[in-house]
Symmetry: C2
Subunit: 168 residues, 2 copies
């Protein structure tokens, strides 16, 4: 069972595919960043990103995509750009029947590092430990994507239990 | 030659298809708002929007889509949501070979109402006049989409001339 974590962006879009067949010991089968041509127009960069995300979905057929629910951003311009990239990624996932789940930065940090105030380096180190990687994942966008996927693996049993209790 | 103006949003996405075969007297052939189910999740609402935008593109095969370039928004949450909707709409257009052009709110207001400080009611009234409509288009999102399409029709000759001079 694969889970795709995605940290959307046009300059760098972090991604991590986890094999969570054994949820107690998830394994990274793909980890890195997608980049788009910085001199191209926004619509064409979004199209590039769409093609790359579609390729990941086609290759791994993840059961779920975990994406950050961005509530606060440094500035509106960044929020727009992250919004555009995340919107494109999320509809691609929906089109393949992949469940899309959004997590807040606090949920991700709590799940991975044990507290919501963890910084990027701490998250990066915890991802390295949890996935048994030889080195911390670089850049931060890749580590953040891995943290999102790990957060989903950790939260999924509780989400299923809650869904079950509310649908009764 | 059709031009699609789009004012992206998940609650209300304004759209206007102009027949600009005679650029001096463009005619609205479709004008309204797309809505998505407010109780659904964001990924599913984006998917709904994608289906609707795709249907417009399939029906009218516009040569260009004009979308607002949002630089400032009231809050980051709105910016994220507008970004997600505009990202989805723009990649749909790119996938059909439709040119996507972004205009700032100032460019749109200047083109339609004569000055960049025009308010929403003035834009609405100018759209009614320019398109010879019996009543001002409602809601504002539909009027804004029409203003975007009108802006593109007004600016396209200049854009072509500029492209020509820089590609020489």
């Amino acid at each position: 069972m694969f889970v795709l974590g995605l940290d959307p962006g046009l300059t760098r879009c972090g991604y991590c595919v986890l094999d969570a067949t054994d949820p107690g010991s998830p394994r990274a089968v793909a980890l890195g960043v997608l980049r788009t041509e910085p001199t191209a127009t926004v619509p064409l960069r979004l199209h590039e990103l769409q093609v790359e995300v579609r390729a990941l979905l086609d290759e791994f057929r993840p059961r779920a995509m975990a994406v950050e629910r961005v509530l606060f951003q440094v500035n509106v311009r960044t929020a727009m750009s992250v919004g555009q990239a995340s919107g494109v990624a999320m509809v691609e996932a929906v089109a393949t029947g992949c469940e899309v789940v959004q997590y807040s930065p606090n949920e991700v940090k709590s799940a991975v590092a044990g507290w919501g105030g963890a910084d990027k380096v701490q998250v990066q180190q915890m991802v390295q430990t949890l996935l048994g990687l030889a080195a911390p994942p670089h850049p931060f966008d890749a580590a953040d994507a891995a943290a999102l996927a790990l957060c989903h693996v950790a939260m999924a049993p509780m989400r299923r239990a809650l869904d079950g209790s509310t649908s009764r």
